[in-house]
């Protein structure tokens, strides 16, 4: 390591951020960061050494089978309690924060009761089967045989409309599973994370509710009594899992004490371990008393939720909820130093980074390099509208630069009242190549939450990122317990189906409605009408399926732990995933969106306005995947206007498409009765769908990567500079056209160095805010560095890039995704 000889200033000048971080962080953080077993798939494959955890599914299934006559929520609670009481736990050297989803650091979890189709894929996944392999395969086969037909998705598939089921699960139009077994859940932080209560308090609250219900059930008979019998069972199930969670923490307390008293010879580490024992003895049973306990409490809850379901996102607002403890410990009482706080916060990030569960290949390809979108929300405003940034905000941003993990990432709720010192910390993370935080326009998004879902102002202001992008409150009626965005639409199929009469030439199946032979369309309005019908059909099919999954989830799956930390469930005894009690916060994630505007505009101009080509010749060329029509294809690439150049011709097509979607968004309703706005973004879906989306009139061929972002221009197609991109995007009404809109931008690290760079970036952000955009995120790594990393990946193991709504290590994503990032235009500012 030649860089080792350089001092910090020299490393900074050379932009050797990983080596700089190594030099600046403590020995403890250095050990913990390097000790992580990376769980994100490389391209689509797990890294060598990563193995499936078989303890959890085995323990879970044993007890699930034993309690076969219990109601589903109680059955799950008892099975999970058995896991928590018996799984192997471990304490890594130097660590201070406990809890992991697995029996060893190199293992990944397996949601055995989620979907048979995933279980079968897992059986055939090379490399992850633990030794001895024959024995493990036998165990997996036995588990699969037991769960076949009775997983959450299996049960749902039996009642879905068969045609909907086939089309939803075809992989052509959607990306997700309509069950809370997979996906993610928002958390009711305002209930359990404010310091007012913890698990013992919730148990006492449940006891009081059970007592009241029991009084009623032995009183005057009437229909109002009847639901109470089920609810009392649910409350009991919540108590079972809360008590098990306290015991689980107690096991860590005990192990820490055993190590301290019997093995550890270093007095400082012994002291650490006794502190860990004290911490885990206190939380989650009781509210935290200090920063360490607050972080540990939060982490236990996140891990416990993942024992219950495969959670692929991590909605959180750590500065807001841990900030008061940071202030108490570091600023007011000076119980710990800033450096000690950074150690804790850095480890808090690392503990999240190491979590992973087995995902099917389509999920791994769509989320290359990570195991889920852990996008943590920072900044924003308090419920009264005042600035919510605090010293914990800054500490989290500093810790991120020390540990440089690709997951979790941050998204920053910008508003006009953010202090400059905080903005400089935000900028420093971006400048140092992390690709995060992404920047969110808080006033716009608060208004948006009120417009689309009717969240009251104070509740809207509590919002966190539900996954990559979509805001969701953390309140009793506002938080969302299931991934409604399993209605994720592969939107490029809308224009594809409009041009092929609903037929999908890639999967060879009539998918959408027959909207007419496009060869015979004589004007743009006919084409647009077909486009609108195909859009409605795709959205309807996905939403119908997810709505049914949500409606039946309490019966088919059941979430005792999530319910136990949700105020509305504690109050009513109803499963948190039930639509009862939620206001509704659904959105359709619109993957591969911008191709629609570019394709429609190209046809409008070249076929209907200029009459350079006929619809017949276009459809023929598309069916041939443009083969034999290269000159024509290039005309559709270069001779037609493209989104992102402040060109009203194509921008007006984009706005019309969004208005059409917004109209339909008010017609389709979630099970809570609320709207389904769209949210254009991609994760790595633009790469995953490359071989699924056929040739398009923007000049794209089957197999070519799709555009990378929700409203990002096509890579290299934005020719007029960064302001033109912002102006195009500013024509979108970011409140009324959809729920949020993802914009990727690449900036030059050289141009943005030093004070001048910060001022340039702030000017850019001012324009962005003035135009009312709701999101922007940056890659600030040079082409030269990225190309070097492609040539010599072993020299760049820690190079991080922003892929879409998440960041990843550059070497962990596929060559195609790497190329796609390099192709994005580097915008010069100023």
């Amino acid at each position: 390591m030649a860089e080792g000889a350089l001092n910090a200033a020299e490393l900074e000048n050379k932009q050797e951020w990983w080596w700089l971080a190594e030099k600046k962080r403590s020995n403890r953080l250095d050990y913990l960061r390097k000790s992580v077993w990376k769980k994100g798939a490389l391209g689509g494959n797990y890294a060598p050494g990563i193995k499936l955890d078989l303890e959890i599914p085995t323990l879970f299934t044993d007890m699930w089978n034993f309690w076969k006559f219990d109601p589903v929520m109680m059955r799950r609670a008892k099975a999970l309690a058995h896991v928590l009481d018996n799984i192997t736990i471990f304490i890594t050297d130097h660590s201070q924060i406990m809890g992991y989803l697995g029996s060893a650091p190199h293992t990944i979890g397996w949601r055995v009761d989620g979907a048979s189709i995933v279980n079968e894929e897992l059986y055939n996944e090379p490399g992850i089967i633990p030794e001895p392999e024959d024995e493990s395969l036998k165990k997996i086969a036995d588990l699969n045989a037991y769960w076949g037909g009775q997983t959450a998705v299996d049960k749902l598939a039996r009642i879905l409309d068969p045609e909907d089921a086939v089309k939803f699960l075809s992989g052509a139009i959607g990306w997700g599973a309509p069950t809370s077994a997979y996906g993610y859940s928002g958390k009711n932080y305002e209930y359990f994370m404010t310091g007012e209560r913890a698990f013992e308090d919730i148990i006492a609250e449940i006891d009081r509710n059970i007592e009241k219900a029991e009084d009623k059930t032995i009183g005057t008979p009437g229909p109002d009594i009847l639901p109470l019998y089920d609810r009392m069972q649910n409350w009991e199930a919540m108590k079972v899992i809360l008590k098990a969670a306290i015991r689980y923490a107690g096991r860590y307390a005990r192990l820490a004490r055993i190590i301290a008293e019997n093995y550890e010879t270093d007095p400082k580490r012994r002291e650490d371990l006794l502190k860990v024992a004290d911490t885990c003895g206190h939380v989650p049973a009781h509210p935290p008393r200090n920063l360490h306990e607050s972080l540990q409490y939060d982490h236990f809850i996140q891990i416990l939720a993942r024992f219950e379901a495969h959670e692929g996102a991590w909605p959180a607002r750590p500065d807001y909820y841990h900030g008061p403890y940071y202030d108490k410990d570091v600023n007011r009482e000076k119980n710990i130093t800033k450096e000690e706080a950074l150690d804790l916060i850095g480890e808090f990030l690392i503990r999240a980074y190491e979590v992973g569960g087995f995902g099917p290949r389509w999920a791994r390809e769509g989320l290359q390099g990570i195991t889920g979108t852990w996008v943590w929300t920072l900044g924003g405003v308090n419920k009264d509208g005042s600035d919510a940034c605090n010293d914990m905000t800054r500490a989290l941003l500093q810790a991120a630069r020390l540990v440089r993990v690709a997951n979790p990432t941050f998204a920053f709720r910008w508003h006009p009242g953010v202090r400059e010192d905080v903005m400089r910390e935000v900028f420093e993370c971006i400048r140092q190549g992390l690709g995060y935080p992404s920047i969110r326009n808080d006033p716009v998004l608060v208004e948006n939450a009120m417009y689309w879902h009717g969240h009251p102002l104070e509740e809207a202001r509590t919002w966190v990122h539900q996954a990559c992008m979509s805001p969701c409150p953390t309140t009793k009626h506002g938080f969302q317990p299931m991934r409604m965005a399993s209605a994720t639409a592969n939107c490029a199929k809308i224009i594809e189906y409009a041009l092929h009469n609903g037929y999908d030439h890639v999967v060879n199946m009539q998918m959408g409605p027959k909207t007419g032979d496009a060869r015979k369309f004589t004007d743009f309005e006919q084409l647009f009408a077909a486009w609108a019908r195909q859009m409605e059909w795709i959205f309807n099919t996905l939403v119908r399926t997810v709505n049914l999954g949500r409606y039946k989830d309490s019966e088919f799956y059941g979430r005792p732990f999530l319910s136990a930390i949700s105020e509305r469930s504690i109050e009513t005894g109803i499963d948190a995933v039930s639509p009862i009690g939620e206001r509704g916060n659904a959105w359709i994630t619109a993957f591969t969106w911008v191709e629609n505007a570019d394709s429609l505009a190209a046809i409008k101009k070249l076929v209907f306005d200029e009459k350079k080509y006929t619809m017949d010749s276009l459809v023929t060329a598309l069916e041939a995947n443009w083969e034999g029509y290269e000159e024509m294809r290039l005309d559709f690439v270069r001779g037609a206007p493209k989104w992102g150049n402040d060109d009203d011709y194509v921008d007006s097509v984009m706005i019309r498409c969004l208005e059409e979607c917004a109209r339909h968004s008010h017609e389709i309703k979630c099970p809570c009765g609320n709207n389904w706005p769209i949210l254009p973004e991609n994760v790595s879906g633009n790469i995953h769908y490359a071989n699924i989306v056929g040739a398009l009139p923007n000049g794209r061929r089957l197999g070519d990567a799709l555009y990378d972002g929700g409203i990002s221009p096509g890579p290299g197609l934005d020719k007029k500079g960064p302001t033109a991109v912002l102006k195009s995007c500013g024509k979108i009404d970011h409140v009324h056209h959809g729920r949020a809109f993802l914009l990727n931008q690449r900036l030059s690290p050289t141009q943005l160095s030093g004070e001048k760079g910060y001022q340039l970036w702030m000017s850019y952000l001012k324009t962005w805010a003035d135009l009312g955009l709701d999101h922007v995120q940056f890659n600030m790594v040079s082409d030269a560095t990225l190309r070097s990393a492609q040539r010599d990946p072993e020299k760049y193991p820690e190079l991080i890039v922003r892929v879409a709504g998440y960041s990843a290590h550059f070497v962990d994503i596929s060559r195609k995704t790497q190329d796609n990032i390099i192709q994005r235009t580097v915008q010069g500012l100023g």
């Binding site: 050990y31 390097k34 000790s35 992580v36 077993w37 050494g49 009481d85 018996n86 192997t88 736990i89 471990f90 304490i91 890594t92 050297d93 029996s103 060893a104 650091p105 190199h106 096991r251 005990r254 192990l255 055993i258 190590i259 019997n262 093995y263």
Partner: protein, 59 residues
């Protein structure tokens, strides 16, 4: 037949000495850690490769 409570890695629960934890040190290619797995004090340890006879009697 050796049983778990005769092993130096066995730590009985204070409130139920028939149950306890098997605590082991592990060094894997990336990190070192201690792990604990619940076991019964009377569990047959004759096939356990980690068994180490305790020198003193367990109190």
């Amino acid at each position: 037949m050796p049983v778990c409570q005769e092993c130096r890695k066995f730590y009985p629960l204070e409130n139920n000495r028939k149950q306890g934890d098997c605590v082991q040190r592990v060094v894997d290619p990336r990190q070192a850690y201690y792990k604990a797995k619940p076991v019964s004090a009377e569990k047959d340890a004759s096939a356990c490769g980690e068994f180490e006879k305790r020198q003193s009697v367990l109190k």
